[in-house]
Symmetry: C2
Subunit: 467 residues, 2 copies
């Protein structure tokens, strides 16, 4: 009897205090991902064991322990991430996504042979808007499957790339290529600028797509046209994507033409500013590095592409030390030959140890930063993406940590950089929407995309065999 009274009193206290408190305080959100190791990549490098994130609409409304989030929020959808890592989606800061249809078409060649015997003829004969659409679908499929949530593109028909990327639910900075030669989409400089203007006006302000202008490189675009591209970027307030200082032959060409390094030449045009995303940057001088830091230029480091094309090893530790924002990129699959960011992270960490002759260079956390918050800053979206922080876009991935090649686990950064593979990514959310769940991509039909890619490959193979 005494026990019953005690139970009754206790229940009464609970009902009148805790429960109403819960009901009043618990805020409704769309999704809670809970129970995993939350690797925030925030400024404090917080790693929250048994952590959780709460998402409402397109944004993160809270990041904390599972207990903290449970106290404050209830959700329509709860995703259990027990034993898994919850982290920001990876950011591929440089690619040419539709070129995935040329994956492995030619390798192990000198650049002029590769370009003139394979890539240019293949592009001239095959690249049209439909090609770009299917290539973008295939590329988005591969990137989503590997946990990439944002990418930076530089190709042609970028309006089609934008449509397909938005439809796949991915975030991207999409640079329409402008250069001094006829391109598959636009045959003159004026036509290209006009296309880019329409493209920018159509997409600016979109939740997922950031339109951009992409003058190809200092050696393929005249001084006058570089100035026009830069003015365009300023006028519309859009990013400017460009290849800079990729290999010694570029350095030689620019030095001969303009008596300056690529970076110094661009600086002399007042071209460099916080809207520029410069890909490769393998050969900056010490002075160039200072310029890049001062002008807040973002750098897209592509370690595997630079190795495969024998371009060199970018001075990434030196750039980071000087305060340059550096991200990682895969480059196009025609040269690299995949869009796998995990391998870029792993390679970056190892390459810079080799080059600096010091195994402490670019440790696991530093390497992972390049692919997340570092990449976000390099593409000038550091306020919106790249880390799990309240108010940022909900670009979140859940990574399994119990595969054989990840067993056992001592240190989460080490495992993410040196042991985890793209195939360990299980679930991908971009801008608050699930695009892959338990390895099933929800926004694209894999069978259809693969079949069409094989159809294109047959056509491309035939086009190359005809003279």
């Amino acid at each position: 009897m005494k026990k019953t009274i005690t139970t009754f009193v206790l229940t009464f206290i609970l009902l009148t205090t805790a429960l109403p408190f819960q009901t009043i305080a618990a805020e409704r959100v769309d999704t809670i991902i809970r129970g995993g190791t939350v690797v925030t990549m925030d400024n404090a490098s917080r790693v929250i064991e048994n952590g959780a994130v709460a998402i409402r609409g397109e944004r993160l409304v809270a990041v904390g322990t599972s207990a903290e989030i449970a106290r404050q929020y209830t959700a329509r959808r709860i995703i259990n991430a027990n034993g898994k890592v919850v982290m920001p989606g990876l950011i591929n800061t440089h690619t040419h996504v539709p070129m995935v249809l040329f994956r492995g078409i030619a390798d192990d060649l000198l650049l002029p042979e590769w370009l003139h015997q394979y890539i240019f003829p293949a592009e001239a004969k095959n690249v049209d808007e439909a090609f770009v659409r299917w290539g973008t679908r295939l590329g988005c499929l591969e990137m989503i499957r590997g946990g990439t949530t944002t990418y930076v593109d530089m190709y042609y028909f970028e309006d089609a790339v934008a449509q397909e990327t938005a439809s796949a639910g991915m975030r991207a900075v999409l640079g329409e290529t402008v250069l001094d030669f006829p391109a598959p989409d636009n045959k003159t400089w004026e036509a290209a600028l006009s296309y880019t203007e329409k493209f920018v006006q159509k997409w600016q302000g979109h939740a997922l797509i950031v339109p951009a202008i992409a003058p190809h490189a200092p050696y393929t675009v005249s001084t006058e046209h570089l100035k026009q591209a830069h003015a365009f970027s300023q006028r519309f307030g859009v990013p400017l994507v460009i290849h800079v200082a990729e290999d010694p032959s570029e350095t030689k060409t620019i030095m001969e033409r303009y008596k300056a390094s690529s970076v110094a030449y661009l600086e002399s045009l007042n071209f460099l500013d916080p809207r520029v995303i410069a890909a490769h940057m393998v050969w900056p001088t010490d002075d160039d590095i200072k310029t890049l830091a001062a002008r807040e230029v973002g750098v897209a480091h592509c370690p595997q592409s630079n190795m495969k094309l024998a371009a060199g090893a970018a001075p990434v530790p030196q750039m980071l030390k000087a305060g340059v924002n550096v991200g990682l990129g895969t480059d196009g699959a025609a040269s690299n030959n995949d869009l796998n960011m995990w391998e870029e992270i792993d390679t970056a960490a190892k390459l810079h140890k080799l080059i600096s002759k010091d195994p402490r260079t670019l440790n696991a956390k530093d390497a992972l930063q390049l692919a997340t918050i570092g990449g976000a800053r390099a593409i000038h979206l550091g306020q919106e993406i790249g880390s799990l922080e309240t108010g940022k876009r909900a670009d979140v991935i859940i990574v399994g940590m119990s595969s054989v090649h990840q067993t056992p686990l001592y240190n989460v950064y080490s495992h993410l950089v040196y042991a985890t593979k793209a195939s360990d990514v299980e679930t991908v959310m971009i801008n608050g929407k699930l695009v892959m769940q338990n390895r099933r991509v929800l926004t694209l039909d894999e069978g259809t995309v693969r079949a069409k890619a094989n159809w294109y490959a047959a056509r491309i193979r035939q086009s190359l065999s005809q003279k």
Copy 2:
């Protein structure tokens, strides 16, 4: 009526010619794998579209087109490899397999700190025969899942490694480590030699296991003991596994002690011969390379380990040009941090392009050779494994080629080297027996092995927190 007669006559002709011919000529084998692209890695680099291999007992009895094999053989078991690649299993020429239990325990450190603060204490407190058994199980599981069929080990308690490897159905050259310091299994040099003798006598002649002696390195084993280890290898006719010329500090030490490079020093002891498997070989001189070729020393190139530990980049193109047999190795997972040969192949191809400043260096076919027939020759098993040829051991893998990251396909070598991942390996046969079928490993229980590995990790973590 006329038609019926014609049909009857045709049937009669077929029955009296083709059918009896088939019955008489068709030889019975155990397994036929047919319909795939057979990448033989033989001397002629044959790639057979719609190819097949026939297997009886432990060996390949025929390699040809599916039509040829169908005419000559019938089989108890037919495996359809349509749309897939059929190729020799990969050969990991250097690892320390039980160290997989230390995967990622410490990274990004200078070698002395890594060794003395982490690896040596962790080994002293944890490595016993049971540890080695569970480590070997976990390592074999990872290797089988990635299509590795043969590996070369250097660790302690190799008798336990041998038991577990044979039980997993894998092929291995297993070197019991002997060195001038007390080891987890043997506390003196004499005890180690005696253990190794028993180990060799027990396993020599086994279908899967090749026992070996493994003096650790020229700087950890005295001149007298190196001579004894070499004499042991000669007396029993077993391979000798050793680390040689791994990093500049070794070169310096050996030069100070013996006034010679590591290779020249070993050559002066008449140590180098066609039984030696030398791991790393990052710093041979031009003369050393000639010596290695003349003495038919096999070299295990570990590109990722050498990068991660900042040891350097081995002169692989130069060694290959001089006729040295070079294979690829992952090194132990405590340093690398996985046993993934596909990533080593990809990294090797890219690293040597970077170092040689020529994208034509180590093309895709060359790189794949390192991991197959090159590796077989480097470990002195070139007559038995490394390619799909009549009479060789049936170490065969079936690799899926239709994943998103492999789509589309233009060139099979390019895709195997630059796009294929360990997770694309579907089926693995070693010595005529299936050890993995459609990604299910048949010889080990994955759940049990992972659980035990996690149990060890908890114990190891605790042991390191105690002084």
